[in-house]
Symmetry: C2
Subunit: 352 residues, 2 copies
Amino acid sequence: ETFKIAVIPGDGIGPEVIDEGIKVLNKAAELDGSFSFDYTYFPWGCEFYNEHGKMMDDDGMETLKQFDAIYLGAVGYPGVPDHISLRELLIRIRKEFDQYVNLRPIKLLKGAPQTLKKDHTIDMLVVRENSEGEYSGSGERLFQGKPEEVVLQTGVFSRKGTERIIRYAFEEAKKTGKSVTSISKGNALNYSMVFWDEVFEEVSRDYPEVDTYSYLVDAASMFFVLDPGRFEVVVTSNLFGDIVTDIGAGIAGGLGLAAGANINPTREYPSMFEPVHGSAPDIAGKKIANPLAAIWSASQMLDFFGQEQWGARVLTAMEDVLQDGSTLTPDMNGNASTDQVGQAVTDALDKK
Amino acid sequence: ETFKIAVIPGDGIGPEVIDEGIKVLNKAAELDGSFSFDYTYFPWGCEFYNEHGKMMDDDGMETLKQFDAIYLGAVGYPGVPDHISLRELLIRIRKEFDQYVNLRPIKLLKGAPQTLKKDHTIDMLVVRENSEGEYSGSGERLFQGKPEEVVLQTGVFSRKGTERIIRYAFEEAKKTGKSVTSISKGNALNYSMVFWDEVFEEVSRDYPEVDTYSYLVDAASMFFVLDPGRFEVVVTSNLFGDIVTDIGAGIAGGLGLAAGANINPTREYPSMFEPVHGSAPDIAGKKIANPLAAIWSASQMLDFFGQEQWGARVLTAMEDVLQDGSTLTPDMNGNASTDQVGQAVTDALDKK
Ligand SMILES: CC(C)[C@H](C(=O)O)[C@@H](O)C(=O)O
Ligand SMILES: CC(C)[C@H](C(=O)O)[C@@H](O)C(=O)O
């Protein structure tokens, strides 16, 4: 079986870290023997924009549809405004391909740098709504520049969108025997979050075997640092998911280890795998970017293709490298280069 | 000079912790000799609601106007829905008295329990917008119960409201020689937060002597746990302020130490001082609630009345008790009662 991957290395450190993820994917395929990858590279991103006045080719979305998955490095560069670089590439793909599930594992790997003083078992999966809600882009600016100026930003929560993300989380929890925690804010957001809580309650009735919890986003944010062990599968809205997964990155080793997958569960369109970190222009080209988040995202891709044993083995290989400690990038107090870390993970995978 | 205080002990542990704050206020007044407090108690809250069908007397707001400040314990109790207990008491006072500044110090006191592994200097002041924005309560629910159901929640950001909170933060920073950090999310909330960033930029031009920083809320949330020392005065919206101050509570000793003040800077109406924690019905009446957050809020009240030297001395007294460690409530691994802790702080204040 051959998986067709569209590779968009993107901007800044994107290309450097993506190279290492591909090394690891190839090693997994080689060791297994029953599957392989076929990569096609697309030079889209901010440099492309500076040359062509657009973030991707005109038929870019059409072209991407033919692939089984997209592997993306990072998007964004000084000089190109966010609303272009993000809205015309990253957010566009998430939306048009209806990648409504943003899966972000928050797991403290063995050997990862510890932020919290107490030893906590940190092993949760955040299921973030990825297609609507606070990110709907709907709003209004009235009386611009006048004293009475007022700006409205409207979050749009559909029943369909809210139900399907919550249901996804319950399916995930059921499969793995875990609990589901909903994060919302019904005591202040009196329409959207009251609705979210209702739908969560409704959907939970279909899963009597799954334990459920419900937290206000402020309390959840506090418990992410005081007692993260209480969370297993977490389901939340687009904005809250954005925030809590970055707290998650903070407690589980830093952005250098934060991975994400944008999933279209119907598989009508390709899903996209990308590290959470950005393009980090300040360190681009210096070969010191940490490739572990990109490698973790590659491991999520293996899971997505039904190769869960390899997804898990990649994580174990990463843990070997972290625990060994001699081959890490400067952000983790090491002095290895990006490709040395990628090679170390590949070697560790080989040895198992 | 006598300050007239309306005391609303409220629900759950509210009355227990308020008693201790008042002990400390009285000791400060006694030691100073130039000011005193005159307290009037109001039995408003959920018990009052169960008896009278309302959270406060009909002329409650009118009555409160005659006071210099409100000292509130906690509101909320099982059986009374949040939208009643909060919207008809706590949030009502914040709004109707135009307490548009929510001041929350995030400071790791000497001797406070440490959440983060690294030693960071944590000493920031979060200036949270407290009157509008995401909490405006504006929205719509369409096609209820139908498959096409959609729920809208609209944040309302006025120029007046945005400008005055940002200006407040700059004034605070200027006074204390600190930097100001704005927390927003312009790359996703394309109306409200783009506007916020613009106003921040505009106001900052009036304060060339103040250093400024701007963070996305996700990045800020991560740096609250990875490197909180970079933040001094922080200004942010209602919802983001709610979230980041709870992360702040998490890194600076827990909810037992999280204090807040709801300020009306024009002094047209009274300001309100309240610990951030809730009514904690599970431990109410057991005399084990931690009074330190309520005492810290009392110290903010002393600052507000121009008695900054006493505000600071109360914090030092709290640090003495924390560092001594023998008189702390169970949430801080001690076995003292609420009033023993209050007494210990009062005694420490006496000894200085
Ligand atoms: C770049 C930005 C729009 C994006 C988001 O907010 O979703 C990023 O923070 C993320 O978490 O993937
Ligand atoms: C009780 C709730 C409405 C309130 C808020 O969200 O403002 C609380 O969390 C707070 O931070 O004071």
